[in-house]
């Protein structure tokens, strides 16, 4: 049926071009849609939050907890409004997870507080009756790696143009800026943020570690979890 086409190199080339161009269009065009841009109000992570994200990944929280709320009534009742692709704009890598042994954490910052996390990570079953989540007591003594977190922030700023130090429009019409300064300044800032969280955790041992200038992993992790909204 198409042997005439096979014998006409010119028309055959035109046909091949059309097919590939169409396929390319279908792949490329959606990326320019508004739905593919960062959702208004999505901010990059601060250095302390990034350090917490590293703890989250290191301890494989994503093996049991998803970060993706599907558009079903049963899910939005429990976890808040459904996820949009643009909300993951600054997640590298995204932590959607594929299995919910524990609940979804996409918007955990909306309905859990610092002292709840502090209580829960120390002894989950005592906070949530019947919980099978293991305790993460080592996070209360291990020290978070702020240097690496800063390096990551600086890298994504340079390589992927993540909008640090840039005005980011928020939903209420105002703007916000997530600052990213040099390592020394960021360390000081992270320590100040950590002191606030340590105070809310109401644990003397954590406050003591922070006052020595070190940030326990649990503090960074809580900063990250509180940022999930």
């Amino acid at each position: 049926m198409f042997s005439w086409l096979e014998k006409n190199p010119f028309f055959f080339a035109v046909g091949v071009f059309l097919v590939i161009a169409f396929a390319g269009l279908v792949e490329i065009l959606p990326n320019f849609a508004q739905a593919s841009r960062p959702v208004v109000g999505t901010k990059p992570y601060t250095v302390l939050e990034l350090a917490g994200r590293h703890v989250y990944i290191k301890d494989s929280c994503n093996a049991c907890h998803s970060q993706l709320i599907r558009p079903f009534k049963a899910e939005t009742d429990r976890y808040g409004s459904y996820s949009l692709s643009g909300e993951y704009a600054y997640d590298r890598p995204f932590l959607w997870g594929s299995k919910r042994t524990g609940p979804d954490l996409m918007r955990v910052g909306n309905y859990r507080t610092t002292d709840w996390h502090a209580n829960h990570m120390w002894e989950p079953a005592k906070t949530v009756a019947g919980s099978i989540m293991p305790a993460y007591k080592h996070m209360y003594t291990n020290v978070a790696d702020i240097d690496t977190a800063w390096a990551e922030a600086e890298t994504v700023r340079k390589v992927f143009n993540v909008p640090y130090n840039t005005e980011i429009p928020l939903q209420d019409g105002t703007t916000a800026v997530v600052e990213l300064k040099d390592l020394a300044a960021e360390k000081t800032k992270a320590l100040e943020e950590a002191a606030v969280i340590a105070k809310d955790m109401k644990r003397k041992d954590i406050e003591a570690i922070v006052s020595e200038g070190k940030i326990p992993e649990i503090v960074a992790l809580i900063a990250y979890l509180n940022s999930l909204k």
Partner: protein, 307 residues
Amino acid sequence: MNKIVIFGIVFTLALLGVVFGIVGGKDVDMSGDMVNFYSAVAAVLIVSITVFVVIKYVNQMQNDTASGELAEHNWDGIGEYKNELPTGWAIMFIILIGWYIYYGLVKYPFNAYSQIGEYNEEVAEYNKKFADTFANIKNDPAKFLAMGKSVFNVNCAPCHGNTGDGLATAGEETLKAANLTHRLDAITVKNVIENGSNQLGYEAMGGMPAGMAAGDDVHTLAVYIAGGMSGEKPAAYAACASCHGEDGMGMEGVAPSIKTFDANMVAYVLSHGKKGAIGKMPSFAGILNDTQLEAAAAYVQSLSGAK
């Protein structure tokens, strides 16, 4: 019937016989669970089909000769049979190309099924069902309280504990969330007396100024109020009584009850969140609907034994 077909039948029977022997076919109960029967049927079918397909192709390899019309072109003496697409197939192929151009460029981008649309329908349907089912739930206190309990278990118990005791371990220092089995904790009363209260921004009432009592009075008052206002009334309570009333039940539009939970106030806290002496409580607006808020409030009231 040639040798191969006979060999195939013998081979099939032998194979089935061996399987029958291995699984102990005599003792398998075919009467109860249908799964054994289906497995047996599947075994016979799989073995026979496999053997006879093999026989067909072995026959074809032995007996087939080339047939068909040669195409005009040949390359160094190697020819090709004409092998046109079946007409129906070709028509279908062309229709599908057209359909995909329509679907990819028009139907999908502009007129697609929407997951969000389906979600909105689901929510509307649920809300209607909820409203219909629970329209008169407030007339049935037991049911209303049961709803409040289930809301509490899901949304409140993670912080306030399954029994509403605020996950208290020992003493006020370890409190993580308000103890709901009585109206106020001593630590909360102290905090409010010392720092005042804007009444959570609750529009119906004014704010309370700071420093309504000082020194030892603060502690005495805190213990008295946290203790459910039983026992001897301290003299310093006179300062509280002018707004909260002699009995602590509050005054409509002026000050809340400090003896029992006010259902309106609990519903207000649930929908706005609060920052108290102990920590920050998130808002549950958008998570709970009005009926659920009121049910939760009624349940919280019942925890402290208030009517």
